[in-house]
């Protein structure tokens, strides 16, 4: 047991990150069910966590130092089967942990669209896509849609660049305040309009007092849960609901062709921004890397929370491995956060899951047994040290922007009323997510989460609408089962 505890204490080194949960508790608790998992963000490679996880429960490896060194070795030096082991060992439960919230978000969006009529597109246009699509010819329509797309992307890129500049010049308070404001608007204003449209569609009048009471309560609890502390399931529910709300808003205001073009262009932008050496998100990662900091509060869905972070105090020998581990973790985490940042820009409205704040190091509560370097403290500081045996599951993380765009794609797919299209797009989105996580575990670099899923979704959408649809309709009509 002592050795296990040592391992646990080792793992925080490698796993201290923005929203990473700890292996510790899982190990201390003994054999875990499928609830164990690591934090795998959509963009972050699962490497660091996989390493620690594998090492932590691998009974044959008795050398903790050896393990740490092995952690830092490049991948090629490690035997392939160990890589596979790490990829698959914790991949399955993580992927499913991401399937569930993504599916829930999509479900909320689709149910709202099918039951209410106020979230259908066509209506007021908004400033981000000023051109309407009621044009006489298709060419004109395409041209104006392209114009809309570029204007929208202009907003997104500008917001990303501003964010990066703010981060580079250490204006953390501004960023933090901005995020809080956007969460505020989302939680109160959009929630209110959501309730209004629901009551209008269901033809049930609700008085102002009830609506205000409900909105105030939900909004206030949401602000608490997202920006401060709250029970994990409630926070997850809020994040999913906020993503669904945002996706609905997008779906309502984006014209038809513009929406498809935006989905495509944003996947490409995601690819460029994260992978190109001069890409803004990559710059952000490197800056954070240099400073050895968290990027800043991001919109990330996490299935386990910070609570577990300080369950076990690291042993004194940890600091020597800390820098490398921190770096790996940082890179991993930071990338993930970055992607989320970028997502936020796009949405132009932030909902928030800022568990980790940029707090000055002096604010960090120092316990007597803590001997970690300050870097760790910053990462973990906000999390209260709660029960050691609670919340010991490992978790996964996915950026809320991914939720939003997946839901937008599915909402547009369901607009036709053909359930085959919806289901085909749903399966392809989830498979894309699965593949992305697999790729992350293999390549172990920052990867964007959107491109693969959106590509699959788009391909399957258009092929199902135009090719599979008629075939399937013909089969259904004659009740022929292939």
């Amino acid at each position: 047991m002592h050795r296990l505890i040592d391992d646990n204490q080792d793992s925080p080194d490698e796993m201290t990150e923005l929203l990473k949960s700890q292996d510790n508790d899982t190990i201390i608790d003994g054999p875990e069910t499928s609830t164990d998992g690591e934090n795998i963000s959509s963009n972050a490679a699962a490497t660091a966590s996989s390493h620690s996880r594998v090492e932590a429960i691998d009974p044959q490896d008795h050398e903790t130092t050896h393990r740490h060194r092995r952690n830092e070795q490049p991948d090629e030096q490690r035997p392939l089967n160990i890589e596979h082991e790490e990829i698959f060992k914790y991949g399955a439960s993580h992927v499913v942990k991401l399937f569930v919230p993504v599916s829930l978000c999509m479900l909320i969006v689709i149910i709202t669209i099918k039951t209410t009529s106020s979230y259908t597109p066509g209506g007021a246009t908004w400033a981000y896509t000023p051109f309407t699509e009621d044009k006489s010819t298709n060419t004109q329509r395409i041209l104006f849609s392209l114009a809309n797309t570029f204007i929208f992307m202009g907003f997104v890129i500008t917001a990303t660049v501003i964010l990066i500049l703010l981060y580079k010049f250490k204006c953390y308070k501004i960023i933090h305040g901005w995020l809080i404001l956007t969460t505020l608007m989302l939680l109160f204003f959009f929630l209110y309009s959501y309730f209004s449209s629901i009551s209008a569609s269901l033809n049930r009048p609700i008085d102002m007092i009830t609506i205000c009471f409900i909105t105030w309560n939900i909004g206030a609890v949401g602000m608490f849960c997202i920006h401060w502390k709250g029970p994990l399931p409630i926070q997850q529910a809020y994040l999913i609901f906020m993503s669904a709300l945002l996706a609905l808003v997008f779906y309502k205001f984006l014209p038809d062709w513009t929406g498809w073009l935006i989905l495509g262009v944003i996947s490409i932008w995601d690819l460029i921004a994260v992978l190109c050496p001069k890409g803004p998100l990559r710059i952000l990662v490197e800056t954070a890397h240099e400073r050895g900091e968290q990027i800043f509060p991001a919109l990330i869905y996490s299935s386990t929370m910070v609570y577990m972070v300080t369950a076990v105090d690291p042993p004194p020998r940890e600091p020597q491995f800390a820098p490398d581990n921190v770096d790996t973790n940082m890179a991993v985490n930071v990338d993930e956060t970055l992607n989320e940042e970028q997502r936020n820009q796009r949405a132009a409205i932030r909902n928030n899951n800022a568990r980790r704040q940029l707090i000055p190091r002096s604010d960090v509560p120092q316990t007597a047994t803590r001997r970690e370097p300050a870097r760790y403290v910053v990462e973990r500081s906000n999390s209260p040290v709660i029960d050691d045996d609670d919340d010991d599951e490992k978790g996964v993380k996915l950026g809320l922007g991914d939720f939003i765009f997946y839901s937008i794609l599915l909402a547009k797919a369901s607009a036709l009323g053909d359930w085959n299209v919806t289901i085909a797009c749903y399966v392809s989105l989830l498979i894309g997510l699965c593949l992305t996580l697999l790729l992350l575990a293999i390549i172990r670099k920052a990867l964007p989460a959107l491109p693969i899923s959106i590509t699959f979704g788009l391909v399957l959408y258009f092929s199902t609408v135009y090719i599979i649809g008629p075939f399937s309709a013909e089969l259904n009509l004659g009740q022929v089962f292939i």
Binding site: S34, K89, K97, F471, E474, V480, F481, I482
Partner: protein
């Protein structure tokens, strides 16, 4: 009333598969992923079949042309999925062993075969029935202009049959290929033949007043045969069963 019918048909078609999911697949994330991936493979096979159907324009109404090719494509993709699983098998086994030993359970390739067949079946049945279900809730029903009134319920039962059949076909296919020897040909051969038989029999449903009894009986007979074959393939025989009962 239409909602009742829709709910009834949904439960008929999805009741058993849903229970299968809840009890055997939901708590095993690995099986969930396998099912999803095999569903995606089925979608790809359907895409190919639709391309073929779409391309041969004059024969679009003659489903008898497209259906055998659809069956063949499905079985090809089932085989491709088997190859994919084989490639990742080493790593997959490590995963499964760890996850399941943690739970105190032990299993083998059977679960992968089962999950893959289930995924295939679920998406196949879904594509066959989900649009019918959504139309069912609308006003009116079938049977007014001389069409058969049993359209909906026959579709629901046939969907259930398809889902279960695909599950067993998956198990037979993968298990036979794993066994090697003569089973490598008998197993997949049986699967392809019975699949072709089932689909071609459902072509009979296209007449104006179809006799659903034919396709239903044939379908469920094939299902029974597949169950027995699977059980035999997995190593049970009468003695085993007698011992277990007594």
């Amino acid at each position: 009333m239409t909602i009742m019918e829709c709910a009834g048909c949904t439960l008929i078609a999805y009741g058993v598969p849903f229970s299968m999911f809840v009890f055997t697949i939901a708590h095993h994330p690995f099986r969930v992923i396998i099912s999803m991936t095999s569903a995606f493979f089925w979608l790809l096979s359907l895409l190919l079949s639709s391309f073929l159907w779409f391309a041969v324009v004059p024969l679009r109404t003659q489903l008898a042309f497209a259906v055998p090719f659809a069956v063949i494509f499905q079985e090809i993709f089932r085989f491709l999925f088997y190859r994919l699983i084989k490639k990742a098998e080493f790593a997959l086994q490590r995963v499964q062993m760890q996850e399941l030993t943690d739970k105190g359970m032990v299993f083998d390739r059977f679960a992968v075969a089962y999950a893959s067949g289930y995924g295939f079946g679920l998406i196949s049945g879904t594509f066959a029935i989900v649009n019918v279900l959504s139309d069912m809730t609308g006003p009116g029903t079938l049977g007014i202009f001389g069409h058969s009134q049993d359209f909906f319920i026959a579709t629901a039962f046939l969907t259930l049959c398809v889902i279960l059949l695909n599950t067993f076909w998956g198990v037979i296919f993968f298990t036979s290929l794993d066994k090697g020897g003569i089973h490598r040909f008998i197993g997949p051969g049986t699967v392809v033949l019975t699949h072709m038989l089932f689909s071609c029999i459902t072509l009979v449903n296209r007449t104006l007043t179809p006799m659903y009894t034919i396709s239903l009986i044939v379908g469920y007979a094939i299902l029974l045969g597949m169950i027995i074959y699977t059980v035999v393939l997995r190593g049970f025989n009468l003695n085993n069963i007698r011992q277990r009962i007594n």
